[in-house]
């Protein structure tokens, strides 16, 4: 019942937003809805903290530490993005970029997007999880193509085609898993429930499960932005409105990776962690390395942030691939850290875009003088995202690396060394490109001052979490991350 409530909140908000014509009202409805979801999820957090797992509706829903971390990220970034949307979309509305009528659908899809992502995280049935992951694509295609000009349509088309093909391949993985589970469990209705599968996974046929994991990794990996299936990602992230880019980067990628990790655990239980772990490591490392050159030479700051997301998803995959205590703990923490920091950066980029009306790095100078608050927050966020101490991403990247170097296998050590090189190069690329926009003197025709109070509020909200986790990991988060390790290891 508790879980159902969590899912109903965004649906109600979405429906309400369709019927409210004035943006001056609907923005508050949207903020309130996502805030309730956020607070409610914290309450659920404590439930999982006490009971470890929750299930509901005839075990249709299932909530453990792994899923609660994902829903926490969804609702947290979802609230921040709703807050940010209020300011950002209103500013664009005043400029006449689109008509007020269109905003109703923006908010509807926005909250349906949140709903589908929550459904991914809480469904016990792996088939429903597949349906939900595909549904996230469907909910967001019109958001990617929101401005409906040539580049936006191109991005939306690529997005829906590439992601749907990927996810279709993943369906084959689900079918194979179902087939092997039916051989063991027999009963039809429950044979795809994760809580059932995990108890019998060791009896599955090894070659079937191997093939299944491969299809899942390629399929959901497409949606998670793992290289080389990432080609839709920079286009979609750069063409979508900034609050949506933040949700894409911070949350959507995590949700797809969540799907992969579920199957990773099943596969590990069946044939040991080496096979799926090594595959995760390989795709993770490729993602990090692929993003390096594009970050170094990037001309468009939103694309730069998109490639950085590919890098960080790679790091999370590497952490789960290494599979030790620090690796898994670090990967979970990294998912959280990356979500807050990257969303924060996309918000900064949105403010830059509102002010300068361009996405070219070269055409922006002196942000520190025109939009000082955004600029200062950006500086912190840039240092955080590149893994500079003392910020939160440094902590989680360090844990992942420590696990890689200490695991003892040659492969992990080689991969960790390459990861260090990648991180250093990306640091150079980031500092080089982003600081060009912040410092210098602005061209005279740019008016001074921040565009909207809402955007600043959303950024301060996220900044709070960045700074808190930089100082210490809150006990609830710590407990959840330990539980995630237990879930992964007991497999």
């Amino acid at each position: 019942m508790e879980i159902l409530t969590l899912l109903i909140i965004p649906v109600i908000t979405a429906t309400a937003c369709v019927f409210i014509k004035k943006h001056s009202i609907s923005k508050y409805v949207s903020i309130a809805g996502s805030f309730i979801a956020f607070v409610y999820n914290i309450f659920l957090n404590y439930n999982v903290y006490t009971y470890h797992t929750l299930s509901g509706l005839n075990s249709f829903f299932y909530l453990d530490a792994l899923s609660i971390l994902s829903t926490q990220i969804v609702t947290l970034v979802g609230f921040a993005a709703a807050l940010y949307s209020a300011g950002y979309m209103e500013a664009e509305l005043h400029e006449g970029v689109f008509r007020e009528k269109k905003l109703r659908w923006y908010y509807f899809l926005f909250h349906m997007f949140i709903f589908t992502m929550l459904l991914v995280c809480v469904s016990n049935n792996l088939g429903i999880m597949w349906v939900a992951i595909e549904a996230t694509t469907l909910a967001t295609t019109f958001l990617v193509g929101f401005y409906n000009k040539k580049p936006h349509q191109e991005a939306a088309w690529k997005y829906i085609i590439i992601c749907t093909v990927g996810i279709t391949l993943a369906l084959f993985g689900v079918i194979l898993t179902y087939h092997s589970a039916k051989g063991v469990i027999g009963e039809i209705g429950y044979a795809l429930n994760w809580s059932e599968l995990i108890t019998v996974a060791d009896k599955f046929e090894p070659h079937l499960i191997r093939l299944a994991f491969l299809f899942i990794l390629i399929g959901y990996g497409t949606k998670a932005g793992l290289a080389p299936m990432h080609t839709w990602l920079p286009d979609a992230h750069s063409q979508a409105p900034s609050p949506i880019s933040a949700l894409f980067s911070g949350v959507l990628l995590n949700c797809s990776l969540y799907g992969i990790i579920r199957f990773h655990i099943l596969t590990s239980k069946c044939i040991g962690p080496d096979y799926s772990g090594t595959l995760l490591m390989i795709f993770g490392l490729i993602s990090v390395l692929v993003s390096v050159p594009f970050i170094l030479i990037q001309k468009d700051y939103k694309r730069l942030l998109a490639f950085s997301s590919i890098e960080h998803i790679g790091i999370i995959a590497l952490g789960f691939g290494f599979g030790g205590m620090y690796g898994v703990y670090g990967a979970g923490l990294h998912a959280f850290n990356h979500a807050v920091v990257k969303s924060l950066l996309f918000f900064c980029s949105g403010n830059l875009f509102l002010k300068y009306k361009t996405r070219e790095i070269e055409n922006i100078k002196g942000a520190i003088k025109t939009i000082p608050i955004t600029a200062v927050i950006s500086i912190i966020a840039i240092f955080a995202i590149t893994g500079t101490p003392p910020f939160n991403i440094f902590v989680s990247e360090f844990m992942v690396l420590a696990d890689g170097f200490s695991s003892g296998s040659v492969l992990s050590i080689v991969f960790s060394s390459l990861l260090v090189i990648g991180i250093v190069l990306i640091f150079i690329g980031f500092i080089n490109n982003m600081f060009k926009m912040i410092f210098g003197s602005p061209t005279t025709d740019i008016p001074r001052g921040e565009v909207s109070k809402f955007t600043i509020a959303a950024m301060l909200f996220l900044l709070f979490f960045v700074l808190v986790v930089s100082i210490y990991v809150p006990p609830v988060l710590n407990e959840i991350l330990h539980n995630i390790y237990d879930i992964v290891r007991n497999a």
Binding site: K150, W157, T168, I175, I188
Partner: protein, 221 residues
């Protein structure tokens, strides 16, 4: 095995081959209308298989899935695609890098790959659906292949639908379909994704004055 089951098992084999042929039509034709007809016929054959399985296994939920499949894949989606073709007034596919003869040859290769890879991986305990898994993988691969080599946006949608048909067939042949709630979800997703893609085909036609995906080349580094 009773006489009746053997007969229907043969029927399913024949239907599977016909489905594969309809997918090859998709690879080999340049006319969009023919491709959509091929899709509709293949969906009808798939529904037929699903109906046979429902009849012989006596599992209720397969009947429901069959009914929905008939309505959706045989009537609604092809109808919608015809509507889009009429609206955009695009009738034929353009010659791509890989011409039609060569692509047919490659298709043969893909079918062989599907057959051999599946035979080594899955031991067929289920003689009722003996040769279906390789065929379903072949249909999926051919759909994927069509998406890569063809340029019109509508043909890409048809390729995707072929992939999905192949997977449905795989689910039917390995485990009599997925649980009903999952199948309903998958049907819903397919319907919505085809509608969204159709809308985008129309929009792209309006803005770019063509539905060649080659014209979508603005976004790159």
């Amino acid at each position: 095995m009773t006489e009746q089951v053997i007969v229907s098992s043969r029927t399913i084999d024949i239907l599977a081959v016909l489905m594969l042929m309809m997918t090859i039509v998709l690879v080999g034709t340049s006319r969009l209308r023919t491709s959509i007809w091929a899709y509709a016929i293949r969906s009808f054959l798939l529904t037929w298989v699903s109906g046979l399985i429902a009849y012989f296994s006596g599992i209720h939920h397969i009947f429901i899935a069959t009914g929905i499949s008939l309505a959706l894949k045989v009537i609604v989606i092809p109808g919608f695609l015809f509507y889009i073709v009429n609206k955009t007034k695009v009738k034929t596919e353009v010659e791509s890098v890989i011409n039609y003869t060569l692509s047919l040859l490659i298709s043969c290769g893909l079918i062989l790959i599907a057959y051999y890879s599946m035979q080594s991986i899955i031991k067929f305990e289920n003689a009722f659906m003996g040769h279906c898994l390789p065929v379903s993988l072949a249909i999926t691969l051919l759909g994927f292949f069509v998406m890569i080599i063809r340029k019109k946006a509508i043909t890409q949608i048809l390729g995707l639908l072929a992939m999905e048909d192949g997977l449905f067939f795989a689910a039917l042949s390995t485990s009599y379909g997925m649980p009903l709630i999952v199948e309903l979800g998958v049907f819903f997703d397919i319907l919505v994704s085809v509608i969204i893609m159709g809308i985008y085909v129309y929009r792209i036609k309006e803005t770019f004055d063509s539905i060649d995906t080659d014209s979508l080349r603005e976004l790159k580094e």
